[in-house]
């Protein structure tokens, strides 16, 4: 039994072990040989992916397996999200290596902290009890707070970290409070048992409803949807781009899984209640995110508001409570992570020594400086705007279909109208790159692995769009849709 537990959680143990190994190895390395850390971290991801792929718990008619007394679960959704977390984190590392070197911040701490956060992500994705959810979440959050303050001498960085910490702790508190109420009402931490207990208690039990409200609030904070979005722009802006890229991509996949586990697995009976809450959050996020992004002049802030609206779309997939809706939401969050990686990757690429290229104006005339990078950024922007044939379109299309399936016509209309509003600020980036004159003629230079990664990342925007069928099928199959 114990052995089986270990086997199921092998990737988690491996990541934990490697994070510790990197921490120690770094003590014996000097500045020149720090590249080894990068290699070790990449190796960690590759083997974690292999372990995830190879562990065989699926047998005839059984699609999931639990371990550690039911608090840890392996299922197809979790595996797919974990694999994409490894992929995106790998991309993050390639971008970050170049960026951190430029800014003289190339220290092993970035790798250890982000690996611990990854561990949190994996635990959260696989969490099947309230305690495990909280554990995973806090592991992500605490590592992220430190990552935001990674540039010790940056004032806005420290400010952002402080804000993030204070607000994040409050959100954790709310979540914990909600969990305690649900525990009080159901008498169990295990999400499967919560779900059966809810049936007997009745979904209109006031304690449960209160608990749900706090749970949703905590969840909304972690996803960063209106009205719990205040931290997003400041944190994205204040943190070094490498950190922004990390916190905007990988943890979002975990947040999606957390929403699914808590709301569907645990409180599926109360779908009527949380679906209404989520629809308000979704509409507000889509509207506010897209409208306020128009006013931004800093691309990190612009992408922050764009994240808010994207998370609104993810909620749109979650709220019908149908298998195809979850599949759509999962596809959206994966696609979003890849788009976000490419977008922030471009910001890093343009950052010259010691100065972050985070103004929109830094993108001026990019087509004249290097037409391939301009094309990559344009593909990311069109994809985020949801223009076919880019993959972002298919993501939007699927969540809108999920909403229409559930008969939520008005939500679908709000979503499409405001995605047109959103198209405006994405187009503005394209406009700056293609229609304006460059402010500087300096060469854009990057190591070969960076160039390969950003090119591949850009090609994914159109490649995953044209050949979206297998990823869509995987996401849908994860929920049996």
């Amino acid at each position: 039994m114990n052995n089986a537990n270990m086997m199921l959680a092998a990737p988690e143990f491996w990541v934990l072990a490697m994070a510790c190994v990197i921490l120690i190895v770094d003590l014996f390395l000097d500045e020149e040989r720090r590249g080894i850390i990068h290699l070790l971290a990449m190796l960690t991801l590759v083997f974690a992916a292999i372990m995830t792929l190879r562990s065989n718990y699926v047998s005839e008619g059984v699609h999931s397996a639990v371990a550690f007394n039911g608090s840890f679960i392996r299922d197809p959704m979790g595996d797919v999200l974990k694999l994409f977390s490894f992929l995106v984190l790998g991309i993050v590392y390639i971008y970050a290596k170049f960026f951190l070197r430029q800014f003289r911040m190339f220290r092993a701490d970035f790798y250890t902290l982000s690996l611990f956060a990854l561990l949190g992500v994996m635990l959260l994705i696989s969490a099947n009890s309230l305690v495990m959810v909280y554990l995973g979440l806090e592991l992500i959050s605490l590592s992220s707070y430190a990552l935001v303050a990674f540039d010790r001498d940056s004032r806005i960085g420290s400010e952002a970290a402080m804000k993030y910490f204070v607000l994040g702790s409050m959100a954790s508190g709310m979540l914990l409070y909600g969990m305690s109420m649900i525990y009080g009402a159901t008498g169990t931490m295990d999400l499967y048992q919560v779900s059966t207990a809810v049936k007997s208690v009745g979904s209109d039990d006031p304690l449960l409803v209160f608990g749900l409200v706090f749970l949703v609030a905590g969840l909304a904070f972690k996803l960063g949807v209106v009205p719990f979005h205040m931290w997003i722009p400041d944190v994205y802006h204040g943190a070094p781009v490498a950190t922004t890229l990390f916190i905007s991509s990988v943890p979002k996949m975990a947040a999606f899984a957390m929403a699914f586990r808590l709301l569907q697995t645990g409180l599926g009976e109360m779908q009527g209640d949380w679906s209404q809450m989520l629809s308000i959050l979704a509409v507000l996020s889509i509207i506010l995110g897209n409208v306020v992004a128009i006013a931004q002049t800093n691309i990190k802030r612009m992408l922050a508001y764009s994240t808010i609206s994207h998370m609104g779309f993810v909620l749109l997939g979650l709220l019908p409570g149908t298998a195809s809706g979850y599949g759509a939401g999962m596809f959206y969050v994966i696609v979003y992570s890849l788009m976000s990686a490419a977008g922030f990757g471009m910001v890093m690429l343009l950052s010259a020594r010691g100065v972050e290229a985070d103004k929109l104006d830094d993108f001026k005339g990019l087509n004249q400086r290097n037409s391939w990078y301009a094309a990559v950024m344009a593909m990311v922007m069109f994809s985020m705007a949801g223009v076919p044939v880019f993959v972002g379109f298919f993501a939007k299309w699927m969540v809108i279909k999920a909403a229409l399936d559930a008969g939520l016509m008005w939500l679908a209309i709000v979503a499409v109208v405001f995605s047109v509003v959103g198209a405006f600020y994405y187009l503005r980036v394209v406009k700056l790159m293609y229609f304006d004159e460059p402010l500087t003629e300096s060469e854009i230079d990057a190591p070969v692995d960076f160039r390969a990664a950003i090119s591949l990342n850009g090609i994914m925007m159109i490649g995953l769009g044209i050949f979206s069928s297998s990823l869509i099928a995987v996401c849908m199959a994860s929920f049996g849709a």
């Binding site: 037409s371 223009v387 044939v389 379109f393 679908a412 109208v417 187009l427 394209v430 406009k431």
Partner: protein, 509 residues
Amino acid sequence: MSSTWPILSVLIWLPIFGGLAVIAVGEHRAALARLMALAIAGVTFILSITLFTAFDVSTAAMQFTEFKPWIATFDIFYSLGVDGFSVPLILLTTFFGVLVVIAGWEVIQVKVNQYMAAFLIMEGLMVGVFSATDAMLFYVFFEAMLIPMFLVIGMWGGPRRVYATIKFFLYTFLGSVFMLIGLIYLYIQSGSWSILEWHQFPLTLSVQKWLFLGFLAAFSVKIPMWPVHTWLPDAHVEAPTGGSVVLAAIMLKIGGYGFIRFSLPITPDAAAALDWLIITLSLIAVVYIGFVALVQQDMKKLIAYSSISHMGFVTLGLFIAFAVFQNTENGRGAALGVEGAMVQMISHGFVSGALFLCVGVLYDRLHSRMIADYGGVANTMPWFAALAVLFFMANSGLPGTSGFVGEFMVILAAFQANFWYAFLAAITLILGAAYSLWLVKRVIFGEVANQNVAQLEDINAREALVLGTLAVAVLLVGLWPEPLVNLMHASVEQLLQHIQQPKFSVSGI
């Protein structure tokens, strides 16, 4: 009939991959980029002619069909096929594909490879729009097409290009997202994305009305109809000549094609119930926009407004059918209306493309589009003047030119529906003649207006080739429209049969 090789796929992907190859040659080898673009566009056009020669005119069924799974989870197929409506439009597209490459030969000097590539990719996407028989595939082509046009206007356009191109993009994008909701709704109801299956799918009248409005939002912006036309004059004025040509000659036709492929057959009862709306808007476009064209100072703007007014004829011809059915016994006039609309689209493609090229010829020399800056051009550019006058005559619907055929057919159909429709529609013959000929008088004839005009050089061989080809096309369609009408006849008959049968009673909903 089925073809042995996937000609439609070739027509779509050859220009697209060709365009990518042209980008790859780099900015500094402009001559090579031009030659490659010409070769790709030329080959595409020659291949597309086989569509015409091998097309079976006796059937309304889809031909040259291709069918492969694309996104199986949602029953989306890569399915292509053409009928009598799409073949002429595809030929128009590939024809202009060659012309815009030649037209931009010397005029475009910066980023030649990207310019040529944008047009080639656009060409492939437009052929895709006309040949997709899966609604999702159609939508993907329909929207993706905006991107190259957005870049073309923004990168090589005039002083207010940024405003114009963003307006163009957002207008069309907003229109089409409503259609997207309609399409998804139809999929949820029917479990299929096949446009042809949707044609047979029963829907209640109220659902049809909502769907109809969704389609209307997309196609009325695209075609464009009054009052959502305002992006067009801006986009035309700021676009480079090639952009204006493609916009006027082909992109506007996609709106008309959308009505034929979606609105009429999928929601026939709603179309019958709401035909008054379309007819009213069309007549406003024909008459009011005709007056607006009259007062323009800018030649490109004048042609843009004239385009809107001519497109009014297309929508009128398509929707007059319902009134004809009501008011006559046999409903023979209905076919005239739809065929007239189709001929009008093709004709307007040639004429407006040619007119924008004419303005381009003048603009390349004097860098002004203002009517007031010209006068007496005929004295210095006799060959140009001859061709330009022909095109303006065709624009005003002179018999013997292609402009006459379509307008005349639509007016005839309108007469069978209602005298006043026909009367109002016929006003365009006067207005069209007024703004066209008045422009000719001010720009081409008269005394040489100023020093600049006196120094103008007549068109060179390249320009003569482009304009001459178009002149032949305009006269050919004008004098001998038979092959064109034959091409679409079976499809028109089938469409009209189809829209007369109420859909909501089929299954007794």
